[in-house]
């Protein structure tokens, strides 16, 4: 008996194949997120994060968001990720030079924003973590942040009333594992994409920049700010020394990880997206406003070990900028503020 001479069987076969196709479509649709949970914005490169091993789903995103705002991740239940990563400030700890953690303890670096992390190839100012999925364990276990042991968090969630059900929704069974926990948190963080600032709208031909902002943009390129803060992500993800006086905290940056002399004083080049709201600035938060940052580049760059060549082009280290030009660059930087992102209710706790 062959398919050819048995129309009934052919029918059954076709129905089954159609069924499989239908199911695979639904699954695929679910994985990529029909509501645009994660998509690559126009003009952005391919993400660094491998979304194939952890596709963002609605239930995974919701679980990740709940975890992000849950104090149970900390030793005494008081500190959640959201505590130091505040949405209104592009998920950073506004107003604090060093971020505060458990028992009011102070960390030794300024919390970084969580934005466009799908394109980030290393995490923390010194790049000590190289995979987003391995990132969240660090603040959880840091004695001055959440001061909890990661296995204890997993145990707490296993015993909780709410989480096993949510893990089932997101991953198919009630099992709470470190892999699922970290992947859910990653799904939430991956969704924090900012690509709709006034500058993006300007690029898309949907908005205009003022004359001052346009001058700032031109200077940003002309003066080589985009050497490091390059491309649509406004960072080249490298580690560089921008000539901050090291005595301030004694923090040697990337050297802490590689112990390589040539990495002394180097810190990760941060993105400039939403820079207006992520104050204070630098790894130690030494500058309270953008005026302070621009003054540093114009006038305050120190000839420290490994000072970046881009800041050694003039007889005086730094970037030659008049007060007026500094103001113009700041005006341009403020066009990188994405109010839709900062106010998006989908990302908020409530």
């Amino acid at each position: 008996m062959t398919i050819k001479n048995n129309p009934k069987r052919l029918g059954v076969c076709l129905t089954i194949s159609f069924g499989i196709w239908l199911v695979s479509c639904t699954l695929a649709g679910k994985e990529t997120g029909p509501s645009g949970l994660f998509s690559v914005p126009e003009g952005f490169p391919e993400p660094v994060y491998n979304l194939a091993v952890n596709p963002v789903t609605e239930d995974g995103f919701q679980l990740g968001k709940k975890l992000f705002f849950d104090g149970r991740l900390s030793r005494d239940g008081t500190i959640s990720c959201g505590e130091c990563h505040n949405q209104a400030h592009s998920f950073t700890h506004h107003g604090h030079g060093f971020s505060h953690g458990i028992d009011g303890k102070e960390g030794f670096r300024n919390a970084q924003p969580i934005v466009n992390v799908a394109w980030q190839n290393s995490f923390f100012w010194d790049g000590g973590v190289f995979n987003l999925d391995l990132f969240a364990i660090a603040p959880i276990e840091n004695p001055v942040e959440m001061d909890e042991k990661f296995p204890n968090v997993i145990e707490k969630l296993k015993k909780s009333e709410d989480y096993p059900k949510l893990f089932k929704k997101a991953f198919g069974t009630e099992e709470v594992t470190s892999e699922r926990f970290l992947k859910a948190l990653s799904q939430y963080m991956l969704s924090l994409v900012s690509a709709n600032s006034r500058y993006d709208q300007y690029l898309a031909g949907k908005a205009r920049l003022t004359e001052t902002e346009m001058k700032g943009l031109a200077l940003f390129k002309e003066k080589g700010c985009n050497t490091c803060h390059s491309g649509i992500l406004f960072t080249d993800h490298s580690f560089r020394s921008n000539g901050l006086a090291a005595e301030y905290t004694g923090d040697l940056g990337r050297f802490r990880i590689t112990e390589n002399e040539s990495d002394k004083n180097k810190f990760k080049v941060p993105t400039l997206r939403n820079i207006e709201v992520t104050y204070p600035y630098m790894h130690d938060g030494r500058f309270r406003n953008l005026e302070g940052v621009l003054e540093h580049y114009a006038d305050g760059v120190q000839e420290v070990d490994n000072l970046d060549p881009a800041l050694k082009k003039n007889p005086k280290p730094g970037i030659a900028l008049t007060k007026e030009q500094q103001g113009q660059i700041i005006a341009f930087l403020k066009t990188l503020t994405d109010t839709e992102f900062l106010n998006n209710k989908r990302f908020s706790k409530f």
Binding site: L134, P151, R254
Partner: protein
């Protein structure tokens, strides 16, 4: 479909079925079991957290924690050919506080006469860079691998020894701790303290009826003086940095062959 095609399909199906079943029906006399027993010792006696010892530098010590990863186990036959335990089942965390963890049972070892054992003390660099989905069992940072992973500088701690000694600073509550890791880095080169040890022995038979128990003596007394002198008074807390390499040079050669017996 022609007759010959039908025959081909049938043949394929039967071969497939045969292969499928034969995997389970494979006669077991082609493989056996090898047991590795890790004996943590001090001055040739079983290490005891309750006891006080004196190291080669005259420093009084008491231990509170000893953990190490054993991975990438390989067995070498008399003829020089090797058998590597499949990667996914070749990671073990040995903990002094957990007697069961000190005995590693390796199943499905092909029959033959073996004369050497090779293993890594720590976790290889490839596994150190793998995604969270490949970090299960002994490597689960949210369970078994508790305390054996650096969160701020992604990587496993290979060998961890902690205790107290009057030689350790008072402001540190006389605690000493050696946390040694470093897999060489992901995007930039960093410290590499991955150490591999090979122990040779008189050929032993592995078959479905006979399997050796290989005792590995871990001489903690020589942790302090095997190659480089490690004085608690000078270095009481080492977790990263150049000196950690000196420590790894010491501990790799305190893993020595003990008894090899047949079961």
């Amino acid at each position: 479909m022609s007759k010959s095609m039908k025959f081909q399909v049938l043949l394929c199906c039967s071969v497939f079925l045969f292969c499928g079943f034969s995997r389970y029906e494979k006669p077991k006399n082609t493989e056996g079991t090898v047991i590795l027993k890790f004996n943590n010792l001090f001055n040739k006696e079983a290490l005891d957290f309750e006891k006080a010892y004196t190291n080669a530098h005259g420093e009084k010590v008491k231990f509170t924690l000893l953990n190490y990863f054993i991975s990438n186990i390989k067995l070498t036959k008399e003829d020089g050919s090797t058998y590597a335990v499949p990667q996914d089942s070749s990671y073990f965390l040995v903990k002094q506080s957990d007697p069961a963890s000190k005995e590693i049972t390796l199943n499905h070892i092909p029959s033959g006469k073996y004369s050497a054992l090779t293993f890594t003390i720590g976790v290889d660099s490839l596994r150190n860079t793998m995604g969270i989905g490949s970090r299960t069992g002994a490597l689960d940072v949210g369970a078994t691998a508790k305390g054996m992973y650096w969160v701020w500088n992604s990587g496993y701690i290979f060998f961890k020894l902690e205790g107290t000694s009057p030689a350790a600073p008072e402001k540190q509550k006389n605690v000493f701790n050696y946390h040694i890791g470093g897999f060489g880095g992901y995007r930039s080169k960093t410290m590499n303290n991955i150490k591999t040890r090979t122990l040779a022995f008189k050929p032993v038979v592995v078959s479905n009826r006979k399997g050796p128990v290989i005792d590995i003596n871990v001489e903690i007394d020589h942790f302090f003086d095997q190659v480089n002198p490690i004085k608690i008074a000078e270095k009481s807390s080492v977790m990263w940095g150049e000196f950690s390499t000196k420590i790894s040079e010491n501990y790799v050669s305190i893993f020595n062959l003990g008894n090899v017996s047949s079961k």
